[in-house]
Assembly symmetry: C2
Homo-oligomer: 333 residues x 2
Amino acid sequence: MVRPTMEDVAARAGVSRALVSLVMRNSPKVSAIRRQAVLAAADELGYSPHVMARALASRTSTVLGVMVSDLRNAFFADVVEGLDAAAQAAGFDLILNTGGRIPARESAALRSLLSFRPAGIVLLSPVVPTAALEAAGLQCPTVLVSRTSRVSGVDTVNDDGEVGSRLAVDHLVGLGHRRIAHLDGGLAVSTAAARRRGYQAAMRDHGLEPIVVRSEHTDTAGEKAVRELLTTYDRADLPTGLVAGNDFNAVGAISALEENGLRVPGDVSVVGYDNTSLASLRHISLTTVDQPRTEMGRLALETLLERVRGERAKPVRHLLQPSLVVRSTTTSR
Amino acid sequence: MVRPTMEDVAARAGVSRALVSLVMRNSPKVSAIRRQAVLAAADELGYSPHVMARALASRTSTVLGVMVSDLRNAFFADVVEGLDAAAQAAGFDLILNTGGRIPARESAALRSLLSFRPAGIVLLSPVVPTAALEAAGLQCPTVLVSRTSRVSGVDTVNDDGEVGSRLAVDHLVGLGHRRIAHLDGGLAVSTAAARRRGYQAAMRDHGLEPIVVRSEHTDTAGEKAVRELLTTYDRADLPTGLVAGNDFNAVGAISALEENGLRVPGDVSVVGYDNTSLASLRHISLTTVDQPRTEMGRLALETLLERVRGERAKPVRHLLQPSLVVRSTTTSR
DNA sequence: TCTATTGATTGGAGCGCTCTAATAGTGTAA
DNA sequence: TTACACTATTAGAGCGCTCCAATCAATAGA
């Protein structure tokens, strides 16, 4: 199980190691005959260059690290898709990692990525402390996705959560709803604040009273939040529209509503956030706010490469526009 | 953005590079005073060793590569969880990759992983041709998860799909069902064959006639399969039990049934496969077959390390026992 | 004919680290 | 004191590669 090296290929092709190196980087200054011979030898030996030895020698890495906070969330799969396509196009190798939304594990994952001396890193919704982000930004170009931060050494790519929530509220108001509650994502989720602000601002703009229920981005939290609403309000005064923190939360809310004899959207309309694959299942068919996920990934990689290539030094904060996807959980009243 | 090297730490601590190396690998043969000094210097400089330079010099990698065929499927997230925990415990660094179930992209992802010269690789449900698996097995220890293969150079970890399907059939028969159909995963999915065989064998053991509908592991395919059943059978003769190829397929089937005025589980009972997070959502609450996913990850890593450590040379084929999780989509008739 | 010029090829140093063998330092027994 | 056995430390080679400068061959120009 000992893999061939450049030296082996060189010997077999009857040329020097340096020439093999040139062929592997398909330099134009190699004669067709030699190139042929080297390629043939490499093929026979099953040789492919050792990326990290290459990085070491050339002092320039082609490796980009990506930490995915939560592999269970398909949201990130789409972002990774965008990252991957852009990386491939630019000739970079992506290595992924995960920390499972547990600060200690994420810090370890970050350290691990950094120990590869990547050209840059992308952190998808990391839950590590700001200091760790700042430290990362000092070690190599760093881009944050779905996590805001004012750290000057890192760039960020986010969707505009204020706009997204506003989209949801406007949609419900347009359908004739007046009592609209927001199931808030909580303090642990860095994107929740913008969504809440957007909801509150939109409600006030419509001259309506905001109702914020503290919740979380899980389906059980969504159920719990609805039960809380049901004990707080008389049936007659119950909100007729719900702007959930995310899709999971929305699905939980729907379950709890139906369990209590309220039909969705007949009695209560529900809007999710994220347009996860869950939302598009015909069985659920959730009206939700869509983030341009693949585009976010692509943009994040482009932003990263600008720094890697040294084209830009000052931080940028990209805010992408979400859009509303109307399905079957909202209706007029 | 130039990171400190061992030499820098050595200079600052007033010792040699070799001594720093010993400290970094916490060798016992370093005096407490020097160790202290080195650690302090490393800390001040924010130094951490370059894993790949280390791998190059020591001729032994601590990197394990994992190719996840489909990041969108939370099934793999659980497997990765098990892999990750075991890797961490054994002091290995995991690097992930994905090919999105597209053969060409998966081959590229595999090549990319291999170019890091990892100590070993784990492939989660790869769709690359057998020849590529064989080639990988020659380059470094290789373990396949959720993909069977008779290639002699690679180990495999799978759940026993035959047992799983039997569990589903036995459950439905126990509830009084006699007409039970199977929505088959199709040829593209390597685990589908075992599930189908298990279904057929179990049906025959119960003296019942197997009904196999060709489908796929997606929710739209599930819908389509049910529509097909509805055109083939009179309502009175319609199967009262469905053993779906996986959870997505089951959810699609449920949608189509409900759309056609059939209640689940009132008129038709449905069993999924995989116990994805989807299945446990209260809103869906799917009876399904559970694979010990985290355990599969843990076992895969252990199997890999046996080869990495040279403790075993001949291939092993692990088959884990699935179990049935009864929820709300099945009932007696 | 000899020198330039161009293009193809190669030797060798060095990237950040580990590992072996050699060296320095310290105490201990004769 | 000298020899000996440790232990702590270090110099130096080398892992697989890139890159620079040097070499070589072939052709063109005078």
